[in-house]
Amino acid sequence: MAGVKAVEFDLAQVPLREVNRYLHRDAQAEGVTHVRISNPDGAHSIVCGLAHPFDVEIDGHVGYYVGGMNQRANITVRGNAGPGAGENMMSGTIRIEGFASTGAGASAHGGCLIVQGDASLRCGISLKGGDIVVGGSVGSFSAFMAQAGRIVICEDASDALGDSLYEAVIYLRGKVRSLGADAQFEPMRPADFKAVAELLGVAGFKHEPRDFRRIASAKSLYHWNADSNQEY
């Protein structure tokens, strides 16, 4: 295929630091478009900080911070991810085909993180504008203090979902064990159905947007009220 230049790295043979350095410094100048990484074996910080639109495939389970700070790259992990997958990503797409550990998509500013399995606790904590689509369920404290962006959850959520939310919006298909402080269910509007349809389409998940419920901030925590006696 014209315009395709693929490189492959076996992390059982090549130090991860060399791989990341090559992808940061040299790969774009050499016209690389596709990157394939084998034997990740749970290593940390694989393909962190990419700034070019590479298509990256990682064949196996990864450790902490895969694709952290990602810009523009499309990363697929054919396995599970450790804590902090896609943490602070700015743009691009990260797809985890297995499950993601704690803090998936934490403080992501942009781009889309797709977790095909479950995401553990604190998924999308402090989200700042990115999108997260979880095919399974999310753990407790997901979307805690999420400021902007959208989180689609195709199965259930555990405790304190959306605690202290700002302007981020959550779409939940299944049950929630408890909502966090100041999070509330709200009616789905046409723009919400459209957003859910769009994000399900990006993720390739076959669900009906009408089965999702919207959760957003009641905004009662937005202003400090000295008379409220710590009750909100």
């Binding site: 749970g42 940390h44 389970h61 599970n80 297995g98 550990s101 753990g139």
Partner: protein, 298 residues
């Protein structure tokens, strides 16, 4: 930070490989715990009334064969001592209380690391790879083990503060995390006659669970009761002669990963300590959920 590892062999044909499979798991957690390491290995229990003690002499040179002669003179029972450098396993039928008292008086540099019919325990300060080599961990055989690599946060770096901690017979615990109320637990247990060896937070948890089991709780019940009594962050991994058990605090502050095949159940703080195991590509890999108790029996 700290690293934990556990391995239970389901297929008896693999029990000779317990140590060999475990060493890369333990060494793989070196960056999480570079200052000390230890492990407890469980094997087929000795026939009653025999039991064994793991003994440790630290930097003191001990003439183990002389110690054995002295023991034979002091106690008329048969004793067997298997020694390697500063570590030995003493098998005996002598009265435990009298034996420990005798050791304190006659071999003050020898510390008792564990007591039981099934458990052998090793722990020391230094990088995990060095400790694994020092005690030939790769040659260990048995049904199951739990291990730990320590990055000290709450108390001193000494062999006594290294994990696993033990209490009672054939019970041990390793911990990734920190407890915020160990002194409260200690003040509750000490008036009951429970003696502490260190000021380490994990020891409080270990002695609490062992006390609950002596009071009649199963280990699972003791752990569930622990959610009310122990405050802090934890992934606890425990071993008895019959089972291994893992539990994470309700916030899942500390990581854990489990891989299970027909041949074994392997547990580690991170997947990178499991990646080398045979058949790992087809293993069922999962993260224990917070505040849920998972256990596997031999």
């Amino acid at each position: 930070m700290c690293g934990i590892v556990g391995l239970l062999i389901k297929n008896p044909a693999c029990r000779d490989r317990l140590g060999e499979l475990m060493v890369p798991m333990l060494v793989g957690m070196s960056s999480r715990g570079p200052d000390s390491a230890g492990l407890a290995v469980f094997s087929e229990p000795l026939p009653s009334p025999q039991y064994k003690l793991s003994l440790y002499s630290g930097s003191a040179a001990v003439d183990w064969s002389r110690l054995l002669d002295q023991l034979a003179a002091a106690f008329e029972h048969q004793h067997h001592l298997s020694a390697s450098a500063n570590h030995a396993v003493l098998t005996t039928v002598a009265d435990l209380h009298a034996l420990v008292k005798w050791l304190g008086a006659n071999a003050p540099s020898v510390h008792v690391l564990s007591v039981g019919r099934s458990i052998d325990l090793y722990k020391d300060t230094g990088p995990p790879a060095e400790i694994a080599e020092r005690y030939a961990f790769d040659r260990l055989r048995g049904t199951h083990l739990i291990g730990h690599t320590r990055m000290a946060t709450e108390s001193a770096v000494t062999p006594a503060h290294a994990h696993p901690f033990t209490a009672g017979h054939d019970f041990c615990l390793v911990h990734n995390g920190s407890l915020s109320n160990p002194h409260l637990v200690r003040r509750k247990l000490e008036p009951l006659g429970i003696r502490f060896v260190t000021d380490n937070d994990t020891e409080a948890a270990c002695r609490y669970f062992e006390w609950r089991m002596r009071e009649g709780d199963s280990l699972v019940t003791a752990v569930q009761r622990g959610f009310e009594e122990l405050d802090g962050f934890f992934t606890f991994l425990m071993g008895t002669d019959e089972e291994i058990l893992i539990v994470r605090d309700p916030f899942a502050c500390k990581p854990a990963m489990v891989a299970e095949t027909d041949d074994y159940v392997a547990i580690a703080s991170e997947f990178r300590s499991l990646a080398h195991l045979p058949g790992i590509r087809h293993a069922a890999v999962f993260e224990p959920k917070p505040a849920e108790v998972y256990s596997w029996r031999v």
